[in-house]
Symmetry: C2
Subunit: 409 residues, 2 copies
């Protein structure tokens, strides 16, 4: 007997036919004594349709955040009721529960709620009656008794948090890819589906540009120590399991994956005085404007003049804001110039095993060098190494690095 | 300062434009210190669209009544959130509440729930903050914490019950007619909009075929003694107030209205033994099959043979069932024949004032007689008199009676 939470996204329940197909699959795959909790998103375009209605009132409806939540939570309420009906119609007892009924308690930050607690009493009671319990993802109830939504990646987060509260054996996230790959399969043809990956590796992959799972739900899995099985809606093959420690057999590679992110820009502040507090004056101003800064490098430029260069990257979406701030600070600091370069990209390798395996960085740089790719900036974390390169060379770079660490068998 | 509950049906909030128009009107009409609770139905065809989705799972989705309620309650949740946004967008504080949040407690009879209690705490708290409170009609929460719907006429019932629980000054039901008329304006051109009508008169009108208000909500109004103001969504003219006692000035007519019902059929059981228990044997069998019987008349046919005729009417929708039952009983009773007549209609006059005004019945029969209309069956209640006539003569009959009691000025 196992207790399993299974999450299906909006495209998997995008029509009544798809909902019936999901119900059939779940019943087929279910062992007699398994307890199954389904967490589902709103059907296909429902959320967009609801937002369009609200835009008929005001073009920026999110200013009425509480009412947007009242509106948007109806989306999952439709899909859970239909899925529960589909189960019953196939002869299996089932019951739908809203986020509120499922005991998902959130803070009162409407449209961007955070789960603060889960009381799984009702879910457990319904499971004990032999029901498949169909829970609305993406939503909860705040302390005022008002419905809330969880924002981006909310349904995955709901699923993992509910699995945690139920002490489930696993949480399966059904999606349109077959799992987590060693690199983006659209870029690297020989990318391999990983059997396993640790929470920290997955978080680092997400941070560095791999988009399969939102960091939030991975963090939730890590918090509850619930294995997350990322797998395909369209096949029955096993996907990738995200867990605390990978098993022995999956440790054959020192690194777990190669990620890339083309939506970055390089900012260089040239010739700033090399005095204490200078870095702080630049980055404090950026932090105040909520601009995330990445890959910071400071290099001595001129010892005689005691000036240095500050180089860092920002997300391309933050570039305009960043430039405004940096120009101002550079002026105050009497810096020589501010250079912006948009034609850059970040390629990274991720792996908990690289710490303690010397030579990993050298192999990465070597692969890039052999491919004739110049590295502009390097930065490292405990479980990753990133290089900033020309945007136009991303595909070559990712393939070269991937071939180095995941040689074709 | 007044506390007013205003109910708008699905066609009044059928589009974003209409929702904005309703919000504008309410703000315009509102005195500064008035407290306003809006009760609204689902937008236009939403409910039908949701039912169509459920029919994609099973053609008879109402067998999954709990899940139908989970599905259908989303309809009002969409309209309340949009209406609350519309108020806010016009600069007036507003908040939407589901039936559950508004404290509407029902029994657990899904899709046909009955209100058992209302806890108006949250509504009162929001009113005290100066908000217009927008409540989802047609829905509540049962003792299991599951959403329920109230069935036919549910939104009107919600509105009146909430008005009752709030001890509101009045409950306004906005609809597509201007009020309650002395007769159906489509049949009688000179039909007059009544200023007032009592609960009992309105109930009797509804029972006798006048369709403005469902009896449920009128009964709820009577229970709480809340005046119900039936008025038009499209004009600002006052409509008709349903209340316990009509005021003096509106008592100029002895009768309140002329109703008609064409969906009836006459059943005659001829030559049944005139013994005790015979009536019971026929009507008990019909009651067991849930067939409502109306206008029962028993007349001595033949004193020598000690046999009588039993004549009664049933709703046309019950006729097939009724015929089957009556044929069987008639056979057991050795009745001479069972005659069915579908080409009949019932015309009625209603008025609490007719009791104690002798001659009212005579005036009705006289009007019919002058118009050359034959009366087949007569029945009376404390506040109504009904005549069964030929269906083809309904329009003439209603106009003749109306002209007698409501002479053109």
């Amino acid at each position: 007997m196992a207790l399993i939470v299974k999450k299906f996204g909006g495209s998997s329940v995008g029509s009544v036919e798809k909902i019936i197909a999901v119900a059939k699959r779940i019943i087929e795959e279910k062992n007699k004594d398994d307890k199954v909790v389904m967490v589902v998103s709103a059907m296909g375009d429902t959320t967009d349709d609801l937002i369009a209605l609200a835009k008929g009132i005001n073009k920026e409806p999110y200013q009425y955040a509480r009412e947007m939540d009242m509106l948007l939570t109806t989306g999952e309420q439709v899909s859970i009721s239909l899925l529960a009906m589909a189960f019953k119609n196939l002869g299996h007892p089932a019951i739908s529960l809203t986020g509120a009924q499922a005991g998902v308690k959130t803070n009162a930050v409407h449209t961007k709620g955070k789960i603060v607690d889960i009381n799984p009493e009702r879910i457990l009671a319904e499971l004990d009656k032999g029901q498949i319990v169909v829970v609305a993802g993406f939503q909860g109830l705040d302390m005022n008794g008002d419905p809330t939504t969880l924002g981006r990646g909310g349904s995955d987060t709901s699923a993992v948090a509910i699995a945690g509260a139920l002490k489930a054996d696993s949480c399966e996230i059904f999606t349109d890819v077959e799992g987590v790959y060693s690199s983006d399969p659209r870029v690297v043809k020989s990318a391999r589906k990983m059997k396993e990956i640790t929470y920290n590796e997955m978080l680092e992959m997400a941070r560095l540009g791999a988009g399969v799972m939102q960091p939030r739900s991975v963090e939730m899995g890590k918090y509850f120590n619930i294995p997350i099985h990322v797998r395909s809606t369209f096949t029955k093959r096993p996907g990738t399991i995200i867990r605390e420690e990978c098993t022995m057999e999956d440790k054959e590679f020192n690194i777990r994956g190669v990620a890339h992110d083309c939506d970055v820009a390089k900012v260089a502040v040239l010739g700033v005085p090399n005095n204490p507090g200078i870095a702080h004056s630049i980055f404090a101003a950026l932090a105040e404007a909520n601009v995330d800064v990445d890959m910071i490098v400071q290099s001595i430029r001129n010892i005689e003049k005691n000036v240095t260069d500050m180089v860092f990257t920002v997300a391309i979406t933050d570039l305009a804001e960043a430039k405004k701030i940096v120009d101002k600070v550079a002026d105050q600091l009497n810096a020589i110039a501010v250079l912006i370069e948009e034609d850059v990209a970040k390629v990274s390798i991720v792996g908990a095993g690289m710490f303690g395996s010397p030579g990993i960085a050298a192999r990465m740089f070597g692969a890039l060098s052999t491919a004739g790719i110049n590295i502009e900036v390097i930065s490292t974390s405990e479980i990753s190494i990133s290089c900033l390169i020309k945007n136009s060379q991303v595909k070559e770079a990712v393939n070269a690095i991937h071939a180095e660490f995941f040689p074709e068998k």
